[in-house]
């Protein structure tokens, strides 16, 4: 009973802004909606565990980014946890969906939904959820993320500079995709509506 009571309180405490949000907002937008002009990804509503892991990875070098690495290193683990919790519950309006070439979207959708036998690549939605809305606590949503961010991320998987998947599935997949496929996937997901965070009541602890 006490647990339930605490759960009901959670949304309130999650909405309270932890320190450091101003810093995030300067690039990721006031509501974590991302910034299309410089390719900063949307982070509102990403799973808390995912966001926390990314901050840890920036801090310890498993992800390498000139802007994020120094910021993540300045944050104490509790601060990273608080920021991750805050953004995971934040609702942000979908950005203006970019107009996209039809052929590219079709190829991207095919890769996302069922993969490519010739490339030995499985569909993205096996792990990232139908429509790329994310799955569980560690697999981020892709729908509605910035196209350039997605391309960069796949490039980092491919080069191996991103080391946050111990199974190496993402590295293998990115290496099997052509440049055109990477563009097609990024274009497809960027053209989809991002999911909004589930309410705390729906999310079982």
């Amino acid at each position: 009973m006490r647990l339930l009571f605490l759960l009901l309180l959670l949304p309130l405490s999650a909405v309270a802004q932890p320190s450091g949000v101003q810093g995030c907002a300067s690039c990721h937008g006031a509501q974590g909606e991302g910034n299309a002009t410089n390719g900063t990804p949307r982070i509102a509503g990403q799973p808390q565990a995912y966001l926390e892991r990314q901050l840890a990875a920036y801090a310890d070098g498993r992800r390498d980014n000139g802007v994020m690495t120094p910021i993540a290193r300045q944050l104490a683990p509790q601060e990273r946890a608080a920021l991750s919790a805050y953004y995971s519950e934040l609702r942000a309006p979908a950005g203006k969906l970019p107009p996209s070439a039809v052929a590219s979207v079709q190829r991207g959708r095919a890769l996302a939904m069922r993969g490519d036998a010739g490339l030995n690549v499985q569909g993205c939605q096996n792990c990232h959820g139908p429509g790329g809305v994310g799955f569980g606590n560690v697999n981020p949503y892709l729908a509605g993320l910035d196209r350039r961010y997605l391309e960069t991320a796949l490039g980092e998987w491919r080069s191996g500079s991103r080391k946050t998947d111990p199974s190496q599935q993402m590295n293998q997949i990115a290496r099997n995709l052509s440049d055109a496929d990477v563009k097609a996937l990024a274009t497809y997901y960027a053209s989809q509506s991002p999911p909004q965070p589930a309410t705390v009541a729906r999310r079982r602890p």
């Binding site: 993969g115 036998a117 096996n126 293998q172």
Partner: protein, 588 residues
């Protein structure tokens, strides 16, 4: 009237694990091969992709990847005194249908048998005397030894990329691996799988009791691997949808992920799906096969002439194909004469549930088909049977393969089997129960056998296979002994309560136990007691080879797939190295 097709060098019956390996080896040797598959073609992309692949109702309950029992099935009875009835639904075991066969929906548990399994009659007689078991037990030697098959096990494991830690490399014991295994020429191709929580508790308990726990060898891979065919497999994601499912991630070794794409590019291989082979045709001498007759998906009948016939169907169907084709004398249990259908055996399994308090989270959904930890201390002849009164053995392990919502709901003894109390118990115990399994051998007897059913026929008008089986006394004793040992370990795993279920008679074909059906076309050194010689070649019709678990004279402690793969390469070598050069019997 059957349409006669152009003759081919080889016709391959079934394009599953055996068909894919043989197809590859024989086309590499320059032969033209036609592969006939009864089911449909299917591939990782698009057929095994999520979220549709995780449809438990479709794949686990309705068994979408299995033989369609509305078209063909088996009849079953516990003893020759009963009338066998057809299995209207596939429940007790899972014969796969479709390209890749049962190696698409397997769990990936990949083992090697022991020399004491291959030379069971000789070695058991040496150690325990000639009359240790009664005359009704018909276990015998395979005609091959572990040393004969070692290079072929090695080849098969490197094809699949098996993840594991060796415990005996060329006689050198390696702690942490299975130190009780037969010597292997080198270690596994990929490192062992991660250990789930329940398995870690099993390891600690087993070590505390003085046993030798090790990580289960798995063909769901622990890391990316490129095999000698140039095929790359990915890392298993521990999603818990292996057995009864295809793998969406290219992470489970199956014909589709290890060899088929290479084979299908070879112009010397022709794949024909939805082809139901009716029989192997013989010439007037009855000593030479001329090809096969099959019916395609449109109901058209074809004759495919071939110089060589290789049978690689599901084990039970290998037996049925020889009986339908009148190759070899059918076994007669009354006289003990005849060989085809003789020495059918199964697998003797049991389980012990360990129920924990609500603070111990087992997370059973976070599993892989072949993840887990086990001991081999009671496998095969690794322990002294002299005072036990039975032969054979089994492994004991926390090797849970899944925690899928429809199928996995352990409840303690005394829980009602339905209603609100049952639901409450399922919620309470789902995440707080570990299962310790035993996986035991199955000895052959003169009473367990396979023949053609006198009454029931399939959709094409051919008699169904009839199975006559019950657990032999030897295996009931084995299960009682080994389940007791499992219960001791389970007690040491720190739960609040355990519940052990040793195997009891009668065998019930409506409850899933194991897909490991063996025997019926057994290999050996003497034609009076075997269907095939040691190269899996028919004694009676030398241009017919039969490969699969149907070759086993009795079933061993471990899962059988590793040995099917080793026999496939062993037989392929005999065909390419000996038979092609001089067609005819490889043994007289």
């Amino acid at each position: 009237m059957a349409k006669r097709l152009k003759e081919t060098d080889v016709v391959m019956l079934g394009v599953g694990l055996v068909g894919s390996i043989l197809g590859r080896e024989l086309t590499k040797a320059g032969l033209e091969v036609v592969g006939l598959e009864r089911g449909e073609p299917r591939y990782t992309v698009p057929d095994f992709q999520g979220p549709a692949m995780h449809d438990e109702l479709r794949y686990s309950i309705r068994k979408s990847l299995m033989m369609d029992a509305a078209k063909e099935t088996y009849t079953f009875r516990n003893s020759a005194a009963e009338t066998a009835l057809p299995m209207r639904r596939i429940q007790g075991f899972l014969p796969g249908a479709g390209l890749g066969g049962s190696a698409v929906h397997w769990n990936g548990q990949t083992y090697r048998f022991h020399d004491a399994d291959f030379r069971m009659r000789t070695l058991a007689t040496e150690r325990y005397g000639k009359d240790f078991l009664g005359p009704e037990y018909t276990f015998q030697d395979w005609g091959v030894s572990y040393a004969d098959l070692e290079p072929y096990y090695d080849r098969f494991e490197y094809l699949l990329g098996v993840s594991g830690k060796a415990g005996n490399v060329q006689g050198k014991k390696i702690p942490g691996g299975n130190v009780l295994e037969e010597p292997r020429s080198r270690g596994y191709p990929t490192r062992p799988m991660k250990e789930p929580y329940g398995s870690a508790m099993f390891r600690k308990a087993a070590e505390g009791l003085g046993y030798h726990p090790f990580t289960q060898p798995s063909s769901n891979l622990s890391e990316p691997y490129t095999n000698p065919e140039g095929m790359t497999l990915n890392t298993c994601m521990f999603c818990g949808y292996c057995e009864r499912y295809g793998c969406e991630h290219f992470a489970k070794a199956s014909p589709q992920t290890v060899v088929l794409p290479v084979l299908l590019k070879d112009p010397k291989f022709k794949l024909r799906t939805q082809c139901q082979v009716q029989r192997i045709n013989l010439d007037s001498s009855g000593r030479n096969a001329t090809g096969v007759t099959y019916i395609d998906g449109q109901g058209r009948e074809f004759e495919q002439p071939a110089k060589l016939v290789v049978v690689g169907l599901f084990a039970l169907n290998n037996v049925r194909m020889l009986l339908l084709s009148k190759i070899g004398a059918p076994y007669d249990p009354a006289s003990g004469e005849g060989v085809v259908g003789r020495n059918y055996s199964y697998q003797t399994t049991s389980g012990v549930n360990v129920f924990y308090d609500e603070n111990t989270n087992i997370n059973p959904f976070m599993r892989s088909g072949a993840s887990g930890t086990l001991i081999a201390d009671f496998v095969s002849d690794n322990f002294d049977h002299a005072k036990l009164g039975f032969l054979g053995g089994g492994y004991i392990g926390e090797v849970m393969s899944h925690g899928r919502p429809i199928e996995f709901h352990p409840t303690p003894p005394g829980t009602p089997s339905w209603g609100s109390e049952w639901k409450k118990a399922v919620v309470r115990h789902y995440n707080h129960t570990a299962t310790v399994s035993t996986h035991g051998s199955s000895i052959s007897t003169r009473y367990n056998y396979l023949d053609l059913d006198p009454t029931y026929k399939d959709a094409w008008g051919q008699p169904l296979m009839r199975m006559t089986f019950d657990f032999p006394e030897n295996d009931i004793k084995l299960s009682a002994f080994i389940t007791e040992r499992a219960a001791e370990i389970a007690k040491a795993m720190g739960g609040k309560q355990i519940a052990a279920s040793p195997r009891k008679r009668p065998y019930n074909s409506t409850q899933y136990q194991s897909t490991h059906n063996t025997g019926g076309t057994i290999m050996g050194l003497e034609r009076s007691t075997s269907v095939l010689n040691r190269y899996c070649q028919s004694w009676d019709v030398p241009n017919v080879f039969v490969i699969g678990a149907s070759c086993y004279p009795q079933n061993a402690s471990y899962n059988p797939t590793g040995t099917v793969g080793a026999l496939a390469y062993w037989a392929a070598d005999a065909i390419v190295g000996k038979y092609i050069r001089s067609p005819g019997p490889l043994m007289s």
